[in-house]
């Protein structure tokens, strides 16, 4: 029974992966990749890792792929055009190598004797409590580093998404003490970096020459 389920989910994963690579429209590739993630989540459940299966669906299929689909739609990516097939001499070499690869895979499947541990005894390795226990005791350092990594990713993504430089003409100046280098105020000055301190938004606006959209020129 489990062998049938494995073949079902493995076939779905391989089928969707091949579909993702073959498709020329990146949106169809994204949908095929979601299919791969769902098939892998089912395989994780078969491997008695329910927490990771749920995290896979939530994080990969639910967050990362949604982000990818957003970007595809935002940038209005079009399908690739059919390329003429070049380097035709490489095709028999590729077929030979693929055949060798599948022969190796079959060898691994049928002849390598792993340690005879079967999954008939349900283990509690994959339960949320076991993962939580490990995450907060032995593996606390990677956990904390991961949180810093996420912070770096947020800052990096926001920096990359910024449009324009420091003095966008519609800049909204934050009230409070503003410190500018004089160079910023008058670009004809050559490298004068004396700071100019302003104490209110209006003063800063006047010095920078920033006009609100509603004001007349």
């Amino acid at each position: 029974m489990t062998a049938f389920l494995f073949i079902l989910f493995a076939g779905m994963a391989i089928g969707c992966a091949v579909a993702m690579v073959v498709q020329r429209n990146p949106l169809y590739s994204a949908i095929a990749l979601i299919g791969v993630f769902l098939a892998l989540a089912c395989l994780y459940v078969m491997l008695a890792a329910p927490f990771i299966a749920a995290v896979q669906v939530i994080v990969y299929a639910g967050a990362i792929m949604v982000l990818v689909v957003f970007v595809i739609m935002l940038l209005n990516v079009e399908a690739e055009e059919r390329q003429p097939l070049r380097l035709r001499a490489l095709i028999p070499i590729a077929v030979t190598l693929a055949a060798i690869f599948f022969a190796e895979t079959a060898f691994i499947i049928y002849f390598v004797q792993a340690s005879p541990v079967s999954l008939r005894n349900v283990s509690d390795v994959g339960l949320t409590s076991s993962i939580g226990g490990g995450l907060f005791t032995t593996y606390l350092l990677p956990f904390e580093i991961t949180s810093i990594l996420l912070l770096m990713a947020i800052v990096g993504a926001m920096t990359l998404a910024r449009t324009g430089g420091l003095l966008s003409p519609r800049a909204a100046v934050v009230p409070g003490d503003q410190v500018f280098s004089r160079e910023m105020l008058n670009r004809r000055n050559v490298a004068d970096l004396t700071p100019v301190i302003t104490h209110s938004t209006d003063e800063a606006k006047e010095l920078l020459g920033v006009r609100d959209e509603g004001e007349a020129e």
Partner: protein
Amino acid sequence: MVPQLSWYLALSAVLFTIGVVGVMIKRNVIAMFMCIELMLNSVNLTFIAFSSYFRDVSGQLFVFIVMTVAAAEAAVGLGIIIAIFRNRESLDVDDASTLKL
């Protein structure tokens, strides 16, 4: 017949190879990125298969970390892709093969 560990490893190898082929074939930057995600997932499957067959939770913890790293990488990578698109108006990798704008 119970699925053996080797079956899962073979499946992971096949998925990884498909991902590598995709990265080499694709000309669209976003499609290449998705093939990289496929490679990451195949390695996740290897980790969880070993964790399950040797009753060690470390494999699943590492998969947890890998998923977090993949999410962070997706955010920053797509930000880079958007920035490239803003400057070049094209998502073709062949156009971006030199560092010249």
